[in-house]
Symmetry: C4
Subunit: 267 residues, 4 copies
Amino acid sequence: MMAFPPFRRPCGISQQRTAMAATSPTGAPPRSGVAVDPALIDDLVAASRILAAEGVLDGYGHVSMRHPGNPERYLMSRSLAPALVTAEDIMELDLDSNPVDARGRTMFRERFIHGMIFKARPDVMAVVHSHSPAVIPFGITPVPMKPTFHMAGFLYQEPPVFEIRDVAGWTNMLITDNRLGAALADTLGQNPVALMRGHGNVVVGPSVPIAVFRAIYTEVNARLQAAAIAIGGPINYISAEEGAARDKVERDVGRAWELWKRKALGK
Amino acid sequence: MMAFPPFRRPCGISQQRTAMAATSPTGAPPRSGVAVDPALIDDLVAASRILAAEGVLDGYGHVSMRHPGNPERYLMSRSLAPALVTAEDIMELDLDSNPVDARGRTMFRERFIHGMIFKARPDVMAVVHSHSPAVIPFGITPVPMKPTFHMAGFLYQEPPVFEIRDVAGWTNMLITDNRLGAALADTLGQNPVALMRGHGNVVVGPSVPIAVFRAIYTEVNARLQAAAIAIGGPINYISAEEGAARDKVERDVGRAWELWKRKALGK
Amino acid sequence: MMAFPPFRRPCGISQQRTAMAATSPTGAPPRSGVAVDPALIDDLVAASRILAAEGVLDGYGHVSMRHPGNPERYLMSRSLAPALVTAEDIMELDLDSNPVDARGRTMFRERFIHGMIFKARPDVMAVVHSHSPAVIPFGITPVPMKPTFHMAGFLYQEPPVFEIRDVAGWTNMLITDNRLGAALADTLGQNPVALMRGHGNVVVGPSVPIAVFRAIYTEVNARLQAAAIAIGGPINYISAEEGAARDKVERDVGRAWELWKRKALGK
Amino acid sequence: MMAFPPFRRPCGISQQRTAMAATSPTGAPPRSGVAVDPALIDDLVAASRILAAEGVLDGYGHVSMRHPGNPERYLMSRSLAPALVTAEDIMELDLDSNPVDARGRTMFRERFIHGMIFKARPDVMAVVHSHSPAVIPFGITPVPMKPTFHMAGFLYQEPPVFEIRDVAGWTNMLITDNRLGAALADTLGQNPVALMRGHGNVVVGPSVPIAVFRAIYTEVNARLQAAAIAIGGPINYISAEEGAARDKVERDVGRAWELWKRKALGK
C-alpha cells in the first residue's frame, strides 16, 4: 500500500562517493574515513525501515552506525522520516556531528545524541533514538523498566532515566548540541538502554542488528511489563544472573533480522 | 487492499470552478473568494485520508481549512467517509456554514463546528473534528489530559471539555446549528484542543499539516497517558514551560507530513 | 494479501434459484418466499465480510437477514468463516431454522439464535452473533455495558446478560436448538444487544447495515468503557435521554456503510 | 507487502526424499520412518505461517508434528523465522532430537521441548512453542490463567507454570538439552498448555490444526482475561464442566483452519 522509494541505491558507486567525498585539503570539513561496504549501508537503511515497520519509530527518530573504517566517524540518514530512508540519504559525520560532505542535505537536529554516545562508548557500533510508545510511560512514572522475559534479558541492566531539566532547565526537550548529547551519554553510562523523560529512549549495541533487536524488544518488554502490572501481584522478573547469561545468546539475532528485513523491505 | 478513488482530481480546472463558481448576482448564495491553489486542495484531501489512515477518524469526522484567499470562507468535503474524499468533493462554505455552490451535494450536519471556530479564532487556519478513540475516555472521566511527551507539548494548554448539556440539555449530541457551534468555540477559547463529552474532540492549528499533526499526537498522547496512569505513581508531565517551548519546533512538521501522505495516499 | 473468493456471484440468476428452489410439493422442506433482490444478498455478504474486517468476527460468528419477501424465512450463509462468504453460500431457512433447500450444504450449529430472535421480534430484520473480543469481559464481570459516546448511544438500553446455566446447566455453551434459542431471545427482550456469558453477544437491527453498525460500535464502546474504567473516577455516560435521541440519527448509517464495504470488499 | 518465499515445495518429490533419506546402514543417524503425505507437510508449514500471521509467533518459536508413519520421529523446520518456513525446510528428528538427515541444516536450539513432549505424551501429535505476548504476564504473576470464553474452554485444565530455576538454577532460560526438555514435559503433565516463566509457553494437541487453534485462543484468552481483571469484580470463568464439554466441539476446527490458511498463505 505504501509506495516507498526503492531500497537499493540506483548506482553502486554512490556509497563509495559518500564515504570518500571529503578528501579535500586540510581544515573543515573533516576528512572521511575509508569507503564503506554497500552491504553495511544497506543494513543501516534496513534498520531504519525495520524500526518504522515494527512500530518503534514513527515519522521521527533515527538510527546510526559507527563508520566501519574510521571509529571517529558515524553514518546516519539526512533528516527524513525513517520509513523513507534510502542508501542515497546516508551521510557521514564526525563525532562532533559535523557533516563530512553535506551537499546541501539537512541533518537531524538531534544527531548530537549519536555523536556523543559514539565518543563516550568505544564498544558501541550502533545507536537508535526513538519515541518508542510503550516505553515512554516508564520514563515519566517512578516504576523502573525490568525484563519480563528472556528476549529482553539485556534490561537486567536497569535503564537509567535522563532528565534534561537537571542539565538545562526548561527546554524544548531536544538534544540539539554536544553539551546535551554528552549529558545524555553520561546518563547512559555502560548500559544498553537509557530512557529520556517525556521524550523517548536511546538504545545502543555492538552491531546494527543487535541495536535494532534491543530497540524492538525494549518496546515489546514495556508492553508486557505494563500488562503484568495491570494483572497484579508481585512480578517475577528475569534476574540479573539470567539477564547476563543472555549476552552470548543475543549475539545471534540473524533469524529475526532476516524476517524483519523481509517485512520492512518487501523482498 | 482498499480500492479507494484516485486521489488526483480528474481535471485540474475543477478546483478553479469550485472556488469561483458563485460569482452570481447579489444575495444568496454567498460569493466565493478567489481561486484556490490546487496544491492546497490536495493537502486538505490528504489531511482527510491521513487522519483516517492513522486511526483518528473512522467513517465519521471531518477536517476543514480556511479559504486561503478569503478569510470569510472555508473549504471542506461534502458528507463522505474521510478515507474516500477526493478533490472533487471539496466544497466552499461561508462562516455561517452556507454553501457557496452546493450543486446538490450533501453537507456534513456538524459543519457548524468549523464555521463558528473560524469565526471566533482568526488565527486558526484548519479544524479537525474527530471521535479519536483514545481521547474519548478523557472527556467522560474527571482526569484531565496532560502532555506525556514532547510531541504532544501543545497540550500544556489543558484541553477544556465541552458539555453540550450545559447549553442545550438532552440532545442527540450533535453540533447541528450555529448556536451550538458558537458554544463549542467558546469552550475551545484560545486552546489548540477541546474535548467534547461523550462525543470526541476538536483540534485547530495555523495550517492543515499542523492541525493534522496535533490531532494525531492528541490521540497518541491519550494512549500514553492512559498507560502511565495504569502503571501507577505520580506522573511527571511536560511542564507549561516545556510545552510552550515546543511552539516553534512544532511549526516544522514536514518530515511527518511527507510520511503520512505516502502512507495515506500510497504514492 | 488475502486471496478471498470473488465477491460477486458468478451468475446473476443464482440468487433467484436459491430463493425459489423449494417450490416443491407440500410437506417438508418448507416452501420459499419469493425471489430476493441480488443487491440485498450482496449486502448480507458484505455484512459478513465487514464484520470480519472490522474485528467483530474471526473464524466464527454469523450474520443473518429476514427474508425481504417472506417474514417467516431468513437468509444466512452455510457454515463458513465469515470472511470467506459469497452470495452462493447464502441459504434460506424457516424460523425453526430448517433449510428450504440445503443441497448438501452444512449449516451453522447455532442458527437457532437467529430463527428464534426473528420469531420473537417482528421488528428485527437482521441479527449478528459474534465473539466480539472487547465485549466478552463485560459478560463475565459485574460491570454493565453503558454507552461512552454518542455512536454507541443505542446501548442506553443496557444489554442484558444471557446465562446459559440458568436454562440448561452445564453445557458446551452453544445454542444448538430452538429451546436455547428461545431462551436467548427471551433474555434479549426488546433490546438491541444482549451479552452471552463466556461466549459473545447478539446484536439486532431494523436493517442489515444498522445491525452491522451496532455490532461494530458495541465492540468499540467496550474498548472505550474499559479504558475509561482504567483511567478512573466516576464516568459520565450517555444518558437514556441522549441515547434515545440517537435513534433517528442512527437510521442514516450510509456514510460508514460505504466505507466499510470498500475496506472489506476491496472495491 | 511481504515477499515471502513461495509456499508450495518446488518439487513434489522432495518430501519423499526428506522422509526416506536416512535409509543408511545401521548406527547413527537414526533411520527414518516412512514417507510423509505432502499434504501433511503443507499443514505443518501452514501452521508455522499461521501462528506468525496471528501474532502468536514473531521471529522466534516453532511448531512440530509427530511423524505420521513413525511415532518415534517428529517433523519440524530447520532454524528459521516461522513466517519464512517452506516445505523444503522441514526436517525429521528422533525423539532425542537428533536429525535423521541434517544435510548441513541448522536446527532450533530448543527442539528438545518437542522431542521430550512427544516422548512423554503418546496422545500428542503436535507441539507449539511460542513467546505468545499476552500470555507471558500470566507466567510471571501469581494470577493463574483461566478460560474466559468457550473458545478457550480447554484451559479449564489450568496451565501449570514451568520454573527453570527449580531444575537448573540461573540459566539463559533456554531448553537446550533433553534433561530440560524432560523437566518441562513433566510440568506439562496431561495438560494442553504449560506456561514457561519469563519465556513463553507450550501448547499441544491431537493434531496440527487443534494445536494451532489452542495456541491462538490461549493468546486471545490471555488478552480477554487481562481485560476482565482490569474491569474489575469477581470473574465468572468457564467452569470445569463447561470446559470439558468443549472437548468434542473442539475437534472440528476446520472452519477457522481454512480461514487462517487463506490469511497466512494468501491463497
